[in-house]
Amino acid sequence: MVTKIKYWKWSAAIGFLFLLVGLAAVIGSNNGVPVQAADQIENSVSADTTLGSNSDISKIKDMLLNSYQNYDSVSFKFNAWELIDGKKHLTNASVKVVQRPVPMVNMTMTSGMDGEKQYITQEISDGKQTFTYDEGRNWYFVRDTYISPDPKKMPAEAPENAISVYENGTRIPSGGDVELVVHPELLAQNWMLNSQVSIGEVEKVAGREALRLDIFPSEAAKDKLGDKRVYWIDTQTGIILGNDIYHNDQKSQSFVLEDVVLNQEIPKDEFVFIAPQGVPDLNTIHASPLPE
């Protein structure tokens, strides 16, 4: 009888132990709730911290990672060029971003080789749905928008050297380099890794105070990322106001913002999308994963 009771106790104890472990696993993991509704985003602006030439790297990184908390809305024009086989490829975009209470985006971009046709790309999100139009491919599509509770939090199982930048609701998936402006966490999570960073002076860029950062990529990455990448970071918000990239001491790529306006109310009708006439919805075309 004593033996029987002992087995019962041991069995129950082991079961209870596993119960605790299981509960801890469930509570400790956030994998089950990767997204949340737009209106659940915290409606607050963080305390002010302004960057200066005496700021250390950790303060700069903190500003970059939390940039989206430092303003409610921003609108700007984005003008960029890059050299492709010795010719200039141009990108010009008009961008409006609202961070709160509901994240919304309107980006209209043209791009193409200098002197040749410029193709329109448009991305408009009203916080519930996102509209994407690609003139070059001649289609558009609309999809639901999901917003992560924490834009800079990586899932625990993320691979090494992975970056997470896309989920704070102001994502501009069609924006390419435009996205860096309002997602400066890219800078902290990517190009500042394994690189030498030199903190420069505060300079005037796009009519605003900007802290200059010179980044020197590692030897292995220089072929692609260049010898030097210069970024101008808005000292009050952390958004990227300008960027120059050098290959073999020659400037190979550059962008700068114009007409930067912060925290001005942007009417909701700026985020209404209208499907272009005669352009097919991508998902109404008989789609094949690969061309036949």
Binding site: I84, E157, P159, A221
Partner: protein, 170 residues
């Protein structure tokens, strides 16, 4: 003896229940290798690359493959897919340090519907996993990432469209 058996059965049931309840929160990761199971490609002008310009191995699991960009239409395309998806997933693309510098969209498919696209400037990344985002996939459907060489507005044969591994985290 009867009580002992009951105890063992009870413990087994508790443990099994807990393990089953915990399974959904334990992420499953699958990597689709170019050239391996789950990879498909179309077109004929493919280049295989085992080493970078520095002579060192290139790609997450060499070789990687690449093709030149095309300004007028899609001539080469590749896709990484997983059938019987267990639901939504994060997707990461590996961008090697050489032979991948096109500014191009990755398309995410749920069965035969495109549900999202993500523009990535490959020229901005060197030997890194890039998070394309979190995507809701209908359970048991096929999730597929497609990438191609069509770059309207960029002269042909001036950019490398690089294809390497794709990681799906469910």
């Amino acid at each position: 003896m009867k009580s002992r058996s009951k105890g063992l059965i009870l413990a087994f049931l508790i443990i099994t229940t807990i393990l089953c309840a915990s399974l959904p929160v334990l992420a499953a990761t699958t990597i689709i290798y170019n050239g391996g199971s789950g990879w498909s490609q179309s077109g004929s002008e493919w280049h295989s690359q085992s080493t970078g310009r520095d002579g060192q191995p290139i790609g997450y699991s060499p070789p990687m493959v690449w093709t030149w960009n095309n300004s007028s239409s899609t001539s080469e395309a590749g896709a990484w897919s997983i059938s019987n998806a267990s639901g939504g997933c994060y997707i990461y693309a590996y961008i090697p340090r050489n032979y991948a510098d096109v500014n191009q969209r990755y398309y995410i498919w749920d069965n035969n519907s495109i549900i999202a696209s993500s523009l990535v400037n490959q020229a901005s990344y060197a030997d890194q996993w890039i998070n394309l985002g979190y995507f809701s996939i209908v359970p048991s459907h096929t999730v597929r990432v497609q990438f191609d060489d069509f770059t309207p507005g960029v002269s042909s044969n001036t950019r490398y469209a690089g294809f390497d591994e794709m990681r799906f985290v469910f």
